[in-house]
């Protein structure tokens, strides 16, 4: 692994297309500077994020996983984030039992207009994962 | 609900020029069954001068007292004086939000303060914790001639994000507390107008002009007494009332009494106990007291007197309806 990777950890982001991906775009348009560790995967809705994707990422090499969708009641598909909220909360409580620090997984709600909030989420979560260090021996 | 015991910080003015505020507060708290415990070895809260010079130092002065309260393992501190209150609240507000500021302040203290104490003004404790029913229940006397203009001063509920008590622009807590105590309260538009505060020393005429406006508006509102909750307001309005008359050519002669003294009177406590002799413009003329029963009797007689015409009026209304 190049020394570039040493500075960076691998953080996977699942962002819902209508709100959080838009929020990340707004943060970009606003030039809100953020750490570069995050790699974003676009999904139509946070309800599309099967907890198995988070597990798959954490087990096969990610140091942190971030899932972000529309605020409850504001989902473009009405109920998507309601299902996501329950399933991701269940996962968030299972991971520490299995020995994976739940601070490595965070889920939140960011709307398309909240560029500054998105910058804050990415900066804080990256700091939190860096505090834990890499999860897999390189 | 009111706890039985509160940590109580009297502050410097209540040891000196505002002794009567301290006496009357202790008296009515005792009557309401609430115990006030002073942190021993308390020191100056920093008030206005400190934070105009250095915010960290000001917060340290306030935080030192808050650590004493923490050691008494109390999590609520009440203080009647708005200036002390603001000093404590600002220290708490800034230290709990900004880690770096907190460390800097704690650096100045012998023991670190870990933001565990909530400060409440005595008015807030009386209004929110003790509650209007408890206040009303204890009333034994009524002052029929008294008409009070409640004067809050400017920092009792401001700035809103720090004070977090009552409406920052139009507070009603003292109005409600006084009327719960059976006292007639006038609608007073200048309840938060500035009295000139600490400019009494460098710019006395300005204080006289501003206080003059407040006195004038109180009289316009039909009040014959002003209730205050802040030692500095009391001083500007009462102590300097003579100077106001000289500067503005008026001849105001309106007593300025602490709201705790008024409640004390309604509880039948002795004027001596309430420090009534310490105010400059005497309030004896308007604080004539009759017992509650006498008051009710007078009320009943008036109603009886009015009854005959009311009966006539009702009958007349009856015909036009059908």
């Amino acid at each position: 692994m190049s020394e570039v990777a040493a500075k960076e950890l691998r953080i996977v982001g699942f962002l819902c297309n209508w709100c959080s991906y838009g929020g990340a775009d707004t943060a970009g348009v606003g030039r809100f500077k953020q750490p570069t560790d995050l790699r974003i995967i676009r999904v139509p809705c946070s309800g599309r994020v099967d907890p198995m994707f988070v597990v798959r990422a954490l087990i096969t090499g990610a140091d942190g996983v971030l899932v972000s969708g529309c605020h409850p009641r504001d989902c473009h598909y009405t109920d998507g984030n309601f299902y996501a909220r329950r399933r991701l909360e269940m996962l968030k409580r299972l991971l520490p039992f299995l020995g994976i620090d739940d601070k490595r997984f965070h889920y939140t709600w960011v709307s398309a207009s909240e560029g500054a909030k998105w910058q804050q989420v990415v900066t804080d979560f990256t700091k939190q994962v860096h505090a834990l260090g890499p999860m897999h021996q390189k | 609900m009111a706890e039985k015991e509160y940590a109580y910080f009297s502050g410097c003015s209540l040891e000196g020029t505002a002794k009567e505020y301290d006496e009357s507060l202790r008296a009515i708290m005792k009557a309401l069954g609430v115990n006030l415990v002073e942190p021993d070895d308390w020191s100056c809260c920093g008030s206005t001068p400190a934070h105009t010079v250095d915010h960290v130092f000001a917060a340290a002065l306030a935080a030192r007292n808050l650590t004493l309260v923490e050691k008494m393992n109390k999590d609520v501190l009440t203080t009647p004086c708005p200036s002390c209150l603001m000093a404590f609240k600002k220290a708490q507000f800034n230290m709990s939000r900004d880690e770096a500021f907190k460390d800097e302040v704690n650096g100045l203290l012998d023991e670190a303060y870990n933001c565990g104490v909530e400060s409440k003004s005595s008015l807030q404790v009386i209004y929110e914790d003790i509650g209007l029913d408890a206040i009303a229940a204890r009333v034994t006397h009524i002052m029929p001639d008294l008409k009070v203009a409640p004067y809050y001063g400017c920092i009792l509920s401001r700035p809103p994000e720090i004070a977090q008590f009552d409406d920052p622009e139009n507070p009603v807590s003292m109005d409600k507390v006084l009327s719960a105590a059976g006292i007639q309260v006038q609608d007073f538009a200048f309840k938060m107008e500035c009295c000139g505060a600490a400019f009494g020393v460098p710019k006395r005429e300005m204080v006289n002009r501003l206080s003059g406006k407040v006195l004038e508006m109180a009289i316009d509102a039909g009040a014959n007494c002003i209730a205050v909750a802040c030692p500095l307001c009391q001083q500007n309005l009462d102590l300097r009332q003579e100077q106001v008359n000289k500067t503005t050519g008026s001849n105001y002669n309106i007593p300025v009494i602490y709201f705790t003294q008024l409640i004390g009177l309604a509880y039948g406590l002795s004027p001596k106990e309430l420090g009534m002799d310490k105010v400059i413009v005497s309030a004896d003329s308007i604080t004539r007291r009759i017992t509650r029963e006498e008051y009710e009797k007078i009320k009943a007689d008036e109603a009886a007197a009015k009854k005959p015409q009311k009966a006539k009026k009702d009958a007349a209304a009856e015909e036009t309806n059908n």
Binding site: P51, M52, V55, R56, I59, T60, P72, R73, D79, F82, Y83, R85, R86, R87, E89, M90, L91, K92, R93, L94, P96, F97, L98, G99, I100, D101, H106, Y107, T108, W109, V121, D124, F125, Q128 | -
Partner: protein, 316 residues
């Protein structure tokens, strides 16, 4: 409760069902095996004793016609969960309920008798006597029962059409159910990681736990083995094993009725039920929902509330 009463009920219900599913003697004294009774003579082969550990309700979803089934208290929760998820038609099932005071874990008995061949097994109330070439040994059922019986909350079936004996109440404290989970929660993160990775490393991917699990209804479309979607490979690496067990646990979230079949059949004695029980504990705390108890309930992962009382937004 005698086997006799059970046989009578079976003969009574046999005429209006296609088959009756019950237990019969197994290949040796320490084993029983399911029997699909279609004629009255077969009913005489039926047995009921603490060896009847299998959860016969697992056969119900694949049954085409009306059947009767003998179920213990824990097995009945499977039926209730099927009803909640609409995986069976309640009118097509006749339930013969058997109040149960705890079954025996065959493996624990074999270990206790040093894996000697078993010549005879007899049961007296609350204990089991095993005759082996080196003599007889008696064990209290409480010492050789599987974990689920030690904290059994539902000794009497929750739903039934017939009951073979007096209903009995559970005498186990409620918090004993998740005592093992709480004990693991007490450990540090690293200890738990080492524990689970150590256990799952033993897994040989035989899928016995999945095949025995009543709630695994995907039959031969299980994503542990498909290419479309292609979640895991068949490589015998710890990652893939962990992935498989996470798939099984997450698919059972809010559905696992803690019937213990997965741990009973696991050849490597891996505590596979631990993850499922942890999720159930969270389901109870989050949505105060216990799978397989109330037919009207809705499994929490397939419904939601607009305002979730117990889910607070996590702050960074």
């Amino acid at each position: 409760m005698s086997t006799q009463k059970l046989k009578e009920i079976i003969k009574q219900v046999l005429p209006d069902v296609e088959t009756v599913i019950c237990w019969q003697d197994g290949f040796d004294k320490l084993n029983v095996t399911p029997i699909f009774i279609t004629s009255p003579e077969q009913a005489d082969k039926v047995v009921w004793n603490p060896l009847c550990a299998q959860n016969l309700a697992s056969y119900l979803p694949s049954q085409k016609k009306k059947v009767a089934v003998a179920v213990k208290g824990c097995d009945s929760r499977t039926i209730v969960q099927y009803m909640q998820e609409g995986l069976i038609d309640r009118d097509n099932v006749v339930i013969i309920g058997i109040p149960c005071k705890g079954v025996v874990s065959k493996k624990k008995v074999q270990k206790a008798i040093g894996n000697e061949p078993v010549e005879d097994v007899t049961f007296t109330d609350g204990s089991v006597k095993v005759k082996t070439p080196s003599g007889e040994k008696t064990f209290a059922i409480a010492d050789v029962c599987p974990g689920k019986c030690a904290s059994c909350q539902y000794p009497t079936p929750i739903v039934y059409d017939h009951l073979t004996s007096e209903a009995i109440k559970s005498d186990k404290p409620a918090e004993s159910v998740y005592a093992d989970v709480a004990e693991l929660e007490g450990k540090t993160l690293e200890e738990r990681k080492a524990y689970f990775l150590g256990q799952f490393d033993k897994c040989i991917r035989c899928y016995a736990c999945r095949n025995a699990c009543p709630m695994c209804v995907c039959q031969d479309s299980c994503i542990a083995e498909t290419r479309e979607p292609h979640w895991i490979t068949q490589k015998l690496s710890l990652d893939e094993k962990l992935m498989f067990h996470m798939i099984h646990s997450l698919h059972l979230a809010g559905r696992c009725v803690e019937c213990g079949e997965c741990e009973r059949v696991c050849p490597m004695e891996i505590p596979v039920a631990k993850l499922k029980k942890k999720i159930n504990k969270e389901m109870r705390d989050l949505f105060d929902y216990t799978p397989g108890v109330n037919p009207e309930d809705k499994p929490p992962m397939y419904t939601f509330n607009v305002d979730e009382a117990k889910i607070k937004e996590h702050k960074l």
